[in-house]
């Protein structure tokens, strides 16, 4: 009951906000409404009674109705365009509005993503110190022009002062280390605290990744406020704070949410998209592509991600428009130039060293690791989130965030590989070592004779030096740390993504394996494995490539992406040479992970939340019939129907109020039970309420008439209320013996909310989407009451 109260309240406010109750032309509209016969609403360009045709919060839209509304509208505009030049211009601008909207979405998302990148880089470095030249420069840009940087210490310059230097004046020694440590923890706590209180105070919908909810919204669900302007502002601001606080999370998932918010807000400028929920979801599909495109600098990968992971219906028109929007966004981001080197992503790699067929074995090994990690992560994360949902852990979100941030900062600072941000770590791991590098990871032993090094500075065939050994065990510790901390970080009440942490785990594992293979090749040049292709002095094994393949395998294991992942990775590297290793690893990881559980992380979260999402990739394997799933069941009271004439307004209202169904079938009479149509609860209530206020003589005793022609009434009877126009005259029906797999297919392909069941031509019952989901849950031995929404 509380739910219904709340949804009613929200709807009232929405109607008032949109200026619905216009006094002046109310009567003319109702007159027009009652005069028309066909089920099509009066004039698709003008509104019928406002409020009719809209949906309540946490309900599913009617795809068929929305699509046919759009087609009618388009037909009207085309017909009218032949009449005058103004109408012709209107029709041209209507056709063009989709492209203009995509352009605006791309511009806005690209600009926001650029701002987020610049701010996140700066704030991450604030944990370490400040730039004296101008506080807005991060560490790299502070030392940009300085000539005091040396080959060994590329980031040391006098303009950048760490907190120990600023506070105590010392830069070395135990006191400075402890001071830096304390300031790091302080800033991490401060940023995460600000993030969580802003989310809690202004936009609670801004927490989490956003992708599971966007998947559900794109399949037809409505969550009001999820893509609103406050959610956008708060998500942008708190994403930067959350990423900068050192927590093990990424910003790719939240960037998809940000892009979808931009698209939703910009849709309000165009009538075509504002009023039609199905068209709006086309734009949201394109916006999801834009989000991934600005996160990775991969427009094609973004479009494929939207097609494969996020969208439910993806017509070809959306494909072309998504690509356009993704390109515009990538171009905008490039011109803002957040990284100062015309690259879109921090870890753009440029090596082109070839790989050998024998290396497929370690790549497949990485794939198996990725699959195992994915399955384990999903199980652990869902268990933790369920704990958060059901026990008292969920009552203290702010304290939880602070504790996790403190734990992360405490354990991450001592190890230089966990101290740096996720993207920096990945970029360092993807880097192929050459003589120009001086990092610990490239600490190979110098050969005795320096003059016989290759001209291209490649670091071929060297044994590991002490620097590299230190790096290796530090990386192993970092791997264990990151694997465990990401499980409790994803799903907290701050914006959190998991692309970067998964890729970091995979990159560390890949790099370790790559260095292992490299050293194995160095010490065993004559063994049978390496003899043919890896001779002495040749540069045959690239650990950076192993890191890349590992990152792809782990990300694929967690999200179960296939094509889009490979395309994103090869757009990151800029070359087609590594497609085969990437595909091998991704496919292996998906197969291994699918052996443990069929769902990716996003589907698992959808199921945890109980959203009414009918998975398009699953098949219905059981042999039940429609009559087994429909309501009412054998012991239930009979189906609540309306008759096409003979019911009064009072009876209708009491029937509607006494039940909580979202729609009612209309039959010829209660004896024959022959189907006429279907009417939605919301439309019924709005029409009756409006008629009571606006039309003369409508009282509780007035007849409600769904037929085309009013029946003859005695002369002193009150005037009838004609409601044929809100009735859907073509509801979908199946017979009671239709197998359920065909029924589920119909629901999926057409996007239905409900379907009527007939027997020998008479109405027998109704199947709703929720019934199907409950049935599927029962068949899979899950709790059918976990399906919460309608």
């Amino acid at each position: 009951m509380h739910w219904e109260f709340w949804t009613k309240k929200l709807d009232e406010e929405d109607l008032i906000e949109n200026g619905v109750y216009e006094e002046s032309n109310g009567t003319s509209r109702t007159a027009g409404m009652n005069g028309n016969g066909p089920s099509r609403l009066v004039d698709p360009l003008e509104d019928p009674l406002p409020g009719v045709g809209t949906y309540e919060d946490f309900n599913t839209i009617d795809w068929v109705r929305e699509k046919s509304k759009d087609r009618d509208r388009h037909r009207e505009i085309t017909n009218k365009s032949r009449q005058s030049t103004v109408a012709l211009l209107h029709s041209i601008s209507d056709a063009f509005s989709g492209w203009l909207l995509m352009l605006l979405v791309g511009l806005m998302s690209g600009a926001l993503a650029g701002g987020i990148d610049i701010s996140a880089h700066w704030m991450t470095d604030v944990k370490g110190g400040l730039c004296l030249r101008g506080f807005w420069f991060n560490h790299e840009h502070c030392c940009w022009l300085s000539n005091e940087t040396t080959f060994q210490e590329r980031d040391r310059c006098p303009q950048w002062q760490s907190w120990a230097e600023l506070i105590t004046g010392k830069s070395e020694g135990p006191l400075a280390y402890i001071m830096n440590y304390l300031m790091y923890i302080f800033w991490a706590l401060m940023f995460s605290f600000l993030a969580v209180i802003l989310v809690r105070a202004f936009a609670p919908y801004a927490c989490g990744s956003g992708i599971p909810e966007i998947k559900t919204i794109l399949s037809g669900f409505i969550i009001r406020g999820y893509l609103g302007k406050w959610t956008l502002i708060i998500k942008t601001i708190t994403l930067v704070l959350a990423v900068s606080s050192g927590l093990s999370l990424g910003k790719e998932g939240p960037l998809v949410h940000v892009a979808c918010c931009c698209a939703n807000i910009l849709c309000h400028l165009f009538t075509k998209y504002r009023k039609n929920e199905a068209k709006r979801r086309e734009v949201l599909s394109a916006a999801a592509a834009v989000g991934v495109s600005v996160a990775f600098g991969a427009p094609i990968g973004g479009v494929l991600f939207s097609l494969e992971e996020v969208s439910y219906y993806f017509p070809l028109k959306t494909l072309w428009r998504s690509f356009f929007a993704a390109l515009v966004a990538a171009f905008t981001l490039r011109s803002i130039n957040p990284f100062g080197n015309s690259r879109l992503v921090l870890f753009y790699v440029e090596f082109h060293t070839p790989w050998h067929l024998v290396e497929l074995a370690p790549f497949i090994l990485l794939g198996i690791f990725g699959g195992l990690w994915g399955a384990l992560f999903i199980k652990a994360n869902i268990a933790w989130c369920r704990l958060r949902k059901t026990t008292c852990l969920g009552h203290y979100p702010v304290i939880e965030v602070l504790v996790v941030a403190a734990l992360t900062a405490l354990l991450a600072y001592p190890n230089s590989y966990t101290r740096m941000s996720g993207s920096e770590l990945i970029s360092e791991l993807f880097n192929d070592c050459s003589l120009l590098d001086s990092s610990q990871l490239c600490g190979y032993k110098q050969p005795a004779n320096t003059s016989d090094t290759g001209v291209d500075n490649s670091l071929a065939d060297r044994p590991a030096g002490p620097g590299l050994y230190t790096a290796l065990w530090q990386l192993a510790l970092a791997l264990v740390f990151k694997m465990m901390i990401t499980v409790i970080t994803f799903g907290m009440k701050v914006p959190s993504g998991l692309f970067i942490p998964s890729m970091a785990v995979g990159a560390i594992a890949g790099r370790l394996l790559g260095v292992g293979m490299e050293q194995l090749a160095y010490y065993n040049h004559d063994s049978v494995i390496f003899k043919g292709w890896c001779s002495q002095g040749a540069d045959c094994i690239t650990p950076g490539l192993y890191a890349m393949v590992g990152a792809a395998a782990c990300l694929g294991g967690v999200t179960r992406m296939t094509v889009s992942l490979v395309v994103i990775m090869f757009e990151l590297t800029g070359g087609l040479e590594y497609i085969v290793p990437l595909m091998a690893a991704t496919m292996t990881s998906k197969w291994v992970a699918d052996a443990f559980g069929r769902e990716g992380i996003y589907e698992a979260h959808i199921r945890l939340n109980g959203y009414p999402f009918l998975e398009p990739k699953e098949e219905f394997e059981h042999s039940s019939l429609a009559v087994d799933v429909m309501r009412p069941r054998r012991m239930d009271p009979a189906l609540a129907v309306l008759t096409q004439e003979g019911m009064t307004v009072g009876e209708v209202e009491s029937l509607v109020e006494s039940t909580h169904f979202s729609g009612f079938p209309v039959v010829v009479s209660s004896e024959s039970q022959r189907l006429v149509g279907f009417v939605l609860r919301r439309d019924l209530l709005i029409s009756i309420d409006n008629a009571r206020k606006r039309q003369d003589g409508i009282v509780s005793a007035s007849q409600v008439v769904f037929t085309e022609h009013t029946p003859l009434l005695p002369p002193d009877a009150p005037p009838p209320l004609r409601l044929r126009c809100i009735m859907d005259l073509s509801p979908f029906t199946v017979t009671d013996h239709t197998p359920m797999d065909i029924t589920v297919d119909i629901f999926r392909k057409l996007g239905l909310r409900q379907c009527l069941v007939t027997h020998n031509g008479r109405l027998l019952g109704i199947i709703t989407k929720k019934d199907i989901l409950k049935h599927m849950a029962q068949m899979a031995n899950r709790d059918p009451d976990s399906i919460l929404f309608n």
Partner: protein, 187 residues
């Protein structure tokens, strides 16, 4: 309100794009040459703000650590890259971000601490729309008429803003209940 927001976003995008076209600060370009260790000379990094055509080893590596005949061999190993940045964009973005963050924090402090205090002092002067009094009416839109007539009778900007703010706060409260308390959405 939505128009203003959209206009702001567009202005931000335009500003950012325009800032690329404006006169380049000479401090914003550089040529960075990394030279690896060569014989007895250890590795070095050289930076100078020269333009793209001068970005090579001979112009940037100064002073040259090796003598005449080795210069070519040395320079072959050095890798020179030309880089550009826009410090104006960075400054603008950071200052804008910090100011929005500051405004949000101030607004939050105002909403949680100051407003109840002010309301307690000014109680009775303004008619607030009480959110908890309307328990489920039989007719779902019965209240809408009252609300509308009330706001029409005193239609000045301040009351509209207050009404909008009250509605927004109620929405946020409901969102907070479903996300944080009942864990129904976004658990």
């Amino acid at each position: 309100m939505k128009w203003v927001f959209f206009l702001e976003a567009l202005l931000l995008a335009c500003f950012v794009l325009l800032s690329q076209v404006t006169a380049k600060n000479s401090e914003d370009i550089r040529c960075k040459c990394i030279c690896p260790p060569y014989r007895e000379v250890e590795g070095q990094i050289y930076k100078q703000n020269v333009s793209l055509k001068d970005c090579n080893c001979l112009h940037v590596v100064d002073p040259m650590p090796v003598d005449g005949k080795d210069v070519e061999a040395y320079c072959l190993r050095c890798e020179c890259k030309y880089e550009e940045r826009s410090s104006g964009t960075i400054k603008f973005t950071i200052i804008m971000y910090l100011s929005i963050l500051g405004l949000l924090l101030l607004y939050m402090v105002y909403l949680t601490l100051l407003e109840p205090m002010l309301k307690r002092r000014l109680f009775g002067h303004s008619q607030l729309i009480q959110s908890d009094d309307d328990v489920g009416d039989q007719q779902p839109f019965a209240n809408a008429h009252n609300v509308l007539s009330r706001s029409h009778s005193r239609s000045n900007v301040l009351n509209k803003v207050e009404h909008a703010q009250q509605r927004w706060r109620r929405q946020v409260q409901e969102q907070r209940k479903s996300v944080f308390d009942r864990h129904v959405v976004l658990s």
